[in-house]
C-alpha cells in the first residue's frame, strides 16, 4: 500500500485535532471558571443613601424624633406637631448645637427680620439653593428659632411660623417633588439651643450684613442630613 494516503490521513487528522484540542480545552477551562464564579458573591457595592461619619447615635435619635413628630415615620399623616424641644433632644442646648457643627458645609441659615416670618428674596434663593444640594441625604432638617425678645409662647409661635414659611416656599416652588416627604421641622423658640455668634460665619441669607446673636437666632437653620435614619 502507498504511504501517501496514510501520510495524508495523518496530516488531515493532525491539522484538525491540534486546534480542536486547544479549543475544547479552553472551553472546559472557561466552564470550570464559570462554575466557580457562580458561587462567589459579587463585590460590586450597591447604590445607597449617604451615611457620613457625623451621623452619631444622638443625632439620629433627634432626627428620628423630629421625623416621627412630623409624621415622616410610620403611617401617620404629614404635619409636624409641636413638641417640647428638650424632650426631643434630651441634652443641653450647647450639646444639641454641637451635633450640627460637622454640617458647616451643608447647612444654610435664612434670616428673618425681628418679629417677622416672611422670607425675603435672599432667603427664598437660599432655600432653593440648599434644596438643590440633596446629594444622598435622607432627611431635610429645618430648625427655626427666635431671639430672646418677647415671651416664651410668642417666640415658640414665631419660630414655628418661620419653619412653616420655609416649608411653604418649598411646597410652592417644588410642588411635585416627593422629597418634600423628607422634610422635618423643629421649632425651638428662644428657650433652647440658641445659636452663638460663631454661626454668623456659616452660609446665611444675609451674608455681609451685620450679624449679632439676636440676628442669627431670628432664623431657620436648614440642612440635608447625610444619615440613613
Amino acid at each position: 500500500m502507498s504511504s501517501e494516503p496514510i501520510r495524508n490521513l495523518v496530516l488531515f487528522a493532525a491539522c484538525l485535532l491540534v486546534p480542536l484540542g486547544m479549543v475544547v480545552s479552553s472551553e472546559r477551562a472557561a466552564a470550570s471558571r464559570l462554575a466557580e464564579a457562580g458561587d462567589a458573591a459579587s463585590e460590586v457595592p450597591i447604590a445607597s443613601a449617604a451615611e457620613e461619619g457625623y451621623c452619631s447615635v444622638q443625632l439620629k435619635q433627634i432626627l428620628r424624633r423630629v421625623a416621627g413628630a412630623c409624621g415622616l415615620l410610620g403611617e401617620g399623616g404629614r404635619g409636624c406637631k409641636p413638641a417640647d424641644a428638650k424632650n426631643v433632644a434630651s441634652m443641653s442646648g450647647d450639646d444639641f448645637n454641637a451635633l450640627f457643627s460637622p454640617l458647616a458645609s451643608r447647612a444654610h441659615i435664612v434670616q428673618f427680620d425681628a418679629e417677622q416670618t416672611a422670607l425675603d428674596p435672599k432667603a427664598t434663593a437660599e432655600v432653593e439653593q440648599v434644596w438643590a444640594e440633596k446629594g444622598g441625604a435622607s432627611f431635610f432638617f429645618v430648625v427655626s428659632r427666635a431671639s430672646k425678645d418677647g415671651g416664651a409662647d410668642y417666640n415658640t409661635e414665631l419660630s414655628q411660623q418661620r419653619a412653616q414659611a420655609v416649608m411653604g416656599h418649598l411646597q410652592s416652588k417644588f410642588p411635585e417633588d416627593d422629597d418634600l416627604k423628607r422634610v422635618g421641622l423643629l421649632w425651638l423658640g428662644a428657650d433652647y439651643a440658641q445659636l452663638g455668634e460663631n454661626f454668623c460665619e456659616w452660609k446665611r441669607s444675609r451674608t455681609g450684613e451685620p450679624c449679632t446673636a439676636k440676628d442669627i437666632n431670628r432664623s431657620s437653620f436648614m440642612a440635608w442630613i447625610d444619615c440613613a435614619i
Binding site: 486546534p19 479549543v23 457562580g38 457595592p45 450597591i46 447604590a47 438643590a132 417644588f174
Partner: protein
C-alpha cells in the same frame, strides 16, 4: 511579455504532454519529485502564511472562549508574539464585543466566533498546502483549488475589514494579522498555480468535491465540538434581580426607542466607555427595535453622585444635566458625549465649567437650564432611582421588563440573554425605530 508575475518556466512547450514537477530535464533518468522550486517555495509560503493565520485566529478564538466564563479578561492586541494581553478598552475589545465577531448570537451565549471558522480554514489550508508540498504530483488542477481555498479567508478579510472600518470604527490587531496572512496565502497560492504544471486532463470535479468536503469536515467538527463544550449558565435566562420601583413620577426616564415593544430600561453613564460599547451593541444587534427602551442616567461622577468618592467619569453629571434639560434632544447629546468621551473626561477633571460651557455652545437649548436647581434635582432623582432599586454601583445595566440582565450578560451574551428574556415576556407588538 514580461510581467511582475513572470517566472522562469522550465516546462516543455508542448502543453499537451503530461508534466510531472521536478522531473524537467531529468525525466529520461527516471527521477521523480514533488514540483518545481518556485512552486515549492510558493506552497511553503502558503503553509507558513496559513500557520500565521492559524496562530492569530487561535489567539483571537482563545480570547473569545476565555470570556465564556462571563468574566472580564484581557485581550491580546499586539502582533508581537508573546505580547501581553490588554485589559482596558481597545479596538480589539470593541471588535470582539461587537455583534460581528460571531454568528448565531441569539441561539447560544456569545454565538459561534468568526475566529473559530478562521481557525478551521487556516488549519485546513496548512493541511492542504503541506499535502501538495509532499505530493509527488501537483498540477494546476490542485493549485487552482488552493487559490479558491485561500480566496475564502481573503474575501472574508475584505468583508470584515470594511465592517470594522465603516461600522465599528475600530481595528482589531489580531484581525489585521489574519487579513495579512490571508492575502499572503492567496498571493502565494496564485504563484504556486502559475508555476505548477498543467493537469492531466482528467475531471477536477471529483477531487475538488472531496477536498471541499474535507474543508467542511474541518469547519463542522470544530463548530460541533465548540457548541457541545460551550459552558452554559441558567442565570442568563433568569436574570439578576428585578426592579422594585418601576414608575417614573419625577420624569427622569429618557426614551431611547419609540414603540410598543416589551419595555426595557438601560442604566447608563454618558461618559462611561463600557456604556458606549453597550449602546453600539444595542443598536447594531437591533435590540433597540425589539424593546421599547428607556434610559435612566447614573453618572459615576462625584460632583453629583455621593456614592463615588472619586469621580470615575468626571463631567458625567454635566452631560446628564444636559440630557435631562432637553429630553427630546437627549440622544444627540448622548451620541456627542460618546464620541468625545475621553476628551470630556480629561477636561472635566481639571475644569468642569469648561465642559458645561462647551455643552451650552454645542446645544444652545440647554442654556439657562444647565446647572439650575431643578435640573440638579432631576439628576439627583435619577441617582435616587438607583438607590430605591438597590442597583449595583456600575454601568451599564439593562432591564428587560422588570428583570435585570446579569452584568456578565451585557456584552458577548447580550443578544442571547435578551432573546431568552423576551421569550419569557408576554407577547407585544414590534416596536418602532430609534430616533
Amino acid at each position: 511579455m514580461s510581467t511582475p508575475l513572470s517566472f522562469h518556466d522550465e516546462r516543455p512547450s508542448n502543453r499537451d504532454e503530461p508534466y510531472v514537477y521536478g522531473t524537467a530535464n531529468r525525466r529520461d533518468s527516471g527521477g521523480g519529485g514533488g514540483g518545481s522550486g518556485a512552486m515549492k517555495v510558493a506552497l511553503i509560503v502558503v503553509a507558513l502564511a496559513s500557520l500565521a493565520g492559524l496562530v492569530f485566529s487561535m489567539t483571537s478564538s482563545g480570547d473569545f472562549i476565555e470570556h465564556l466564563d462571563r468574566q472580564v479578561h484581557s485581550i491580546h492586541c499586539s502582533l508581537l508574539p508573546g505580547a501581553k494581553a490588554e485589559v482596558g478598552e481597545s479596538g480589539c475589545r470593541t471588535v470582539m464585543m461587537s455583534p460581528y465577531s460571531s454568528v448565531m448570537r441569539t441561539s447560544m451565549w456569545g454565538g459561534i466566533p468568526i475566529a473559530l471558522l478562521s481557525v478551521a480554514t487556516f488549519a485546513y489550508l496548512i493541511m492542504r498546502s503541506l499535502g501538495m508540498l509532499l505530493s509527488k504530483t501537483t498540477t494546476r488542477k490542485e493549485t487552482l483549488f488552493l487559490i479558491a481555498a485561500t480566496g475564502l479567508p481573503s474575501v472574508m478579510s475584505i468583508i470584515f475589514g470594511s465592517i470594522a472600518m465603516n461600522k465599528l470604527g475600530a481595528a482589531c490587531t489580531m484581525c489585521i494579522g489574519i487579513y495579512v496572512s490571508s492575502a499572503i496565502a492567496s498571493i502565494a497560492a496564485i504563484i504556486a498555480h502559475v508555476t505548477a504544471g498543467p493537469s492531466d486532463g482528467s475531471s477536477s470535479i471529483g477531487l475538488w468535491a472531496r477536498w471541499f468536503g474535507e474543508g467542511c469536515v474541518y469547519v463542522f467538527t470544530l463548530v460541533f465540538f465548540y457548541v457541545i463544550f460551550a459552558p452554559t449558565s441558567p442565570k442568563s435566562a433568569e436574570g439578576c434581580g428585578t426592579l422594585v420601583q418601576k414608575e417614573d413620577p419625577a420624569g427622569i426616564f429618557i426614551t431611547m426607542s419609540k414603540g410598543a415593544g416589551v419595555p426595557g430600561l438601560a442604566v447608563l453613564d454618558p461618559l462611561c466607555p463600557a456604556c458606549k460599547g453597550f449602546d453600539e451593541r444595542i443598536r447594531t444587534s437591533g435590540i433597540d427595535q425589539r424593546v421599547a427602551l428607556q434610559t435612566v442616567l447614573f453618572p459615576l461622577d462625584s460632583t453629583c453622585n455621593w456614592m463615588v468618592k472619586e469621580s470615575l467619569h468626571p463631567g458625567a453629571c454635566a452631560v446628564s444635566e444636559a440630557m435631562l434639560c432637553d429630553k427630546d434632544g437627549a440622544l444627540e447629546v448622548l451620541d456627542w458625549a460618546f464620541a468625545n468621551q475621553e476628551r470630556l473626561r480629561t477636561t472635566a477633571k481639571t475644569d468642569e465649567a469648561a465642559v458645561r460651557k462647551e455643552i451650552e455652545t454645542k446645544f444652545p437649548k440647554v442654556k439657562g437650564c444647565l446647572g439650575s436647581a431643578p435640573i440638579k434635582n432631576k439628576v439627583n432623582k435619577s441617582l435616587r432611582f438607583a438607590v430605591a432599586n438597590a442597583l449595583p454601583l456600575l454601568t451599564p445595566q439593562l432591564f428587560i421588563g422588570d428583570r435585570r440582565v446579569c452584568d456578565e450578560d451585557t456584552d458577548l451574551g447580550l443578544e442571547f440573554t435578551v432573546e431568552k428574556m423576551l421569550a419569557a415576556q408576554p407577547a407585544a407588538a414590534p416596536s418602532g425605530r430609534r430616533r
